[in-house]
């Protein structure tokens, strides 16, 4: 039974951390090498694609999606999709997909370029080759070079607030539980002297 408990808490934390890792914004320093548009037929991976219908028809089974091709500082390729999140989840409220695509195209920089243009790509989501899923780019910003450090202030603040919130709820729950148990003990042992 001890193992069952461990498995339960392991799965619990894996889900929580996975969810946060997928949803929270991250910054990649990369070189954009191409931007393109490709038709995507959603299959079992449809949960990993935006479902925003910000002005477009609702829930089509396929549509054209913007993509941004990039190479990160470690020389490995990373492909981002560029989709509106609209009013849906995750709450980035992104509607400027076409503008972002224009900005990304403007910042292209190939390996052969004499002075490489590095950019910071803010994104959320995962790249997974087996599922054909891509992180969603939120914004691109030119940076001075491949060595810049970006401090994730938003994540620091949000995670701190979340931790404080859950600790608060947890502490109150513990207090409530122990008080109730004490009351029960008092009830059972009443008159024992």
């Amino acid at each position: 039974m001890v193992y069952l408990k461990w498995v339960f808490w392991g799965v619990f934390w894996a889900v929580i951390l996975g969810f946060l890792h997928y949803t929270l914004p991250q910054h990649d320093i990369a070189r954009i090498t191409d931007t393109y548009e490709k038709r995507v037929d959603f299959g079992e991976n449809s949960i990993f694609w935006a479902n925003s219908n910000s002005g477009n028809a609702a829930a089509p089974t396929n549509r054209d999606v913007f993509f941004i091709q990039a190479f990160r500082t470690n020389g490995k390729p990373m492909i981002y999709r560029n989709e509106d999140t609209g009013w849906g989840w995750p709450p980035y409220f992104k509607f400027d997909t076409s503008n972002l695509q224009a900005e990304a195209s403007d910042l292209m920089s190939k390996r052969s370029a004499s002075a490489a243009q590095w950019v910071s790509i803010t994104h959320y989501g995962w790249r997974n080759e087996f599922l054909s899923i891509f992180p969603n780019a939120i914004s691109v910003k030119p940076v001075s070079g491949p060595d810049v450090t970006i401090i994730p202030w938003f994540n620091i603040i949000l995670l701190t607030v979340l931790a404080a919130l859950f600790w608060g709820i947890w502490a109150r729950w513990r207090k409530f539980r122990t008080r109730r148990e004490k009351r029960k003990v008092d009830e059972y042992t009443e008159g024992w002297g």
Partner: protein
């Protein structure tokens, strides 16, 4: 627009539940404090009258209107995110 309607509807329901719960909790806390105050200040007159007067004062107070922040804060946060994501 359907997505926006969904957000407003679901968000509105959650926030309204939160607003009502907070209002009830706050009023009950106030009542408890007034009852304690009545005891401490040497039981002036009728307890119910004392508490009712105090609650009437609470009904018009800024403190109670602060609970409207339940609606104001999320709307402000969403407006800020919309601006930061799309127009900056």
């Amino acid at each position: 627009m359907l997505a926006l309607a969904k957000l407003i509807l679901i968000g509105g329901v959650i926030l309204t539940v939160l607003y009502i719960a907070l209002s009830i909790w706050s009023r009950r806390t106030r009542r408890g404090k007034l009852e304690a105050e009545w005891l401490v200040s040497g039981r002036p007159g009728d307890e119910d009258e004392f508490v009712d007067a105090g609650l009437k004062e609470y009904d018009g107070s800024v403190r109670r209107k602060l609970i409207l922040g339940v609606y104001v804060v999320p709307i402000a946060v969403i407006a800020t995110i919309v601006y930061l994501t799309n127009f900056k």
